[in-house]
Symmetry: C2
Subunit: 148 residues, 2 copies
DNA sequence: TGCTATTAAATAGCGCGCGATTTAATATCG
DNA sequence: CGATATTAAATCGCGCGCTATTTAATAGCA
């Protein structure tokens, strides 16, 4: 009996946390897609907007640190949001390497409509809030270990 | 004090399971990227190979049901794996709509080298196996609720 | 049989995510 | 000061992941 066909081989899909993470993330994204469609946002765009709603005027790098994304991902995404009229991008006067991202009035207003989303997602998950918070904490712990 | 700037607003990034899921998935993918580079596979390609190592000769739809992906994602991915000489794609004789995917000898052999990966990932996660299994089960439960 | 409906896979187009490189501005140091 | 190093953002190319559509084969039914 070798490792290649034992039922408990570690190569089994359903035994891997990683696939659980991957596939649950896909499922979650599908739920968001429906909800975000009426706001005209994708999920990563929604994340950027949340970062800016928390604190406006951050640089591309600061947004990236928050979301674990780099400029190769963020620059085109931010340009799209700028094209939608939700934010502006301008080089910082004191350090022209940096680009400050600021919400427009329209970008700030979108927050009102976005307020309903977290609850709608929680509802779609059919979980108790405590369960979700516990899961969140475990995921943050795992992420810290993987990144560090 | 309104909902827009209360510290406990549900729109806060770090309060959302969804972002925990999203960002932990990114971190996990980064770990895999390093390990899979020497096999010449991406993570989704690795998933497809695992499905076929578990059971060879599945159709595109069957692989898709297992991975929660559709033919729009799988067809180009499978063509790449075919191009690498890891598998073959052929229309089923009894139903020419279906495409059966079969591992080549090279595809089967790759499994030997892949055997080391789950352990390496578990190691990178710096977690106890029991923790990871518990997390996996919670994620599967959440996925089921989100999909159903 | 022949017509329509359904199904499986493929295709087109778009938005991430990232490795690798480039461009431009600032920092550092002789 | 000037040359080099570092940093921030942008750019390029590729592989997903998905919506919408298309193509082709089979099923179902009058």
């Amino acid at each position: 009996m070798n490792d290649h066909d034992t039922p408990d081989s570690l190569l089994k899909l359903d035994l891997q946390v990683c696939f659980a993470l991957y596939s649950t993330n896909l499922a979650m994204t599908k739920v968001y897609r429906r909800l975000l469609r009426e706001l005209g946002l994708t999920y990563p765009q929604y994340l950027v907007m949340m970062v800016l709603w928390e604190e406006d005027g951050q640089t591309v790098s600061e947004i990236g640190e928050r979301l674990f994304l780099d400029s190769a991902t963020l620059t085109p995404l931010l340009k799209r949001l700028e094209g939608m009229g939700l934010l502006s991008r301008r080089r910082a006067a004191d350090d022209e390497r940096r680009v400050r991202v600021r919400l427009t009035e329209q970008g700030r207003e979108l927050r009102i409509r976005a307020e309903a989303i977290p609850e709608a997602v929680a509802c779609a998950s059919q979980c108790q809030p405590e369960e979700l918070m516990a899961l969140k904490d475990q995921l943050h712990a795992l992420r810290r270990k993987l990144n560090g």
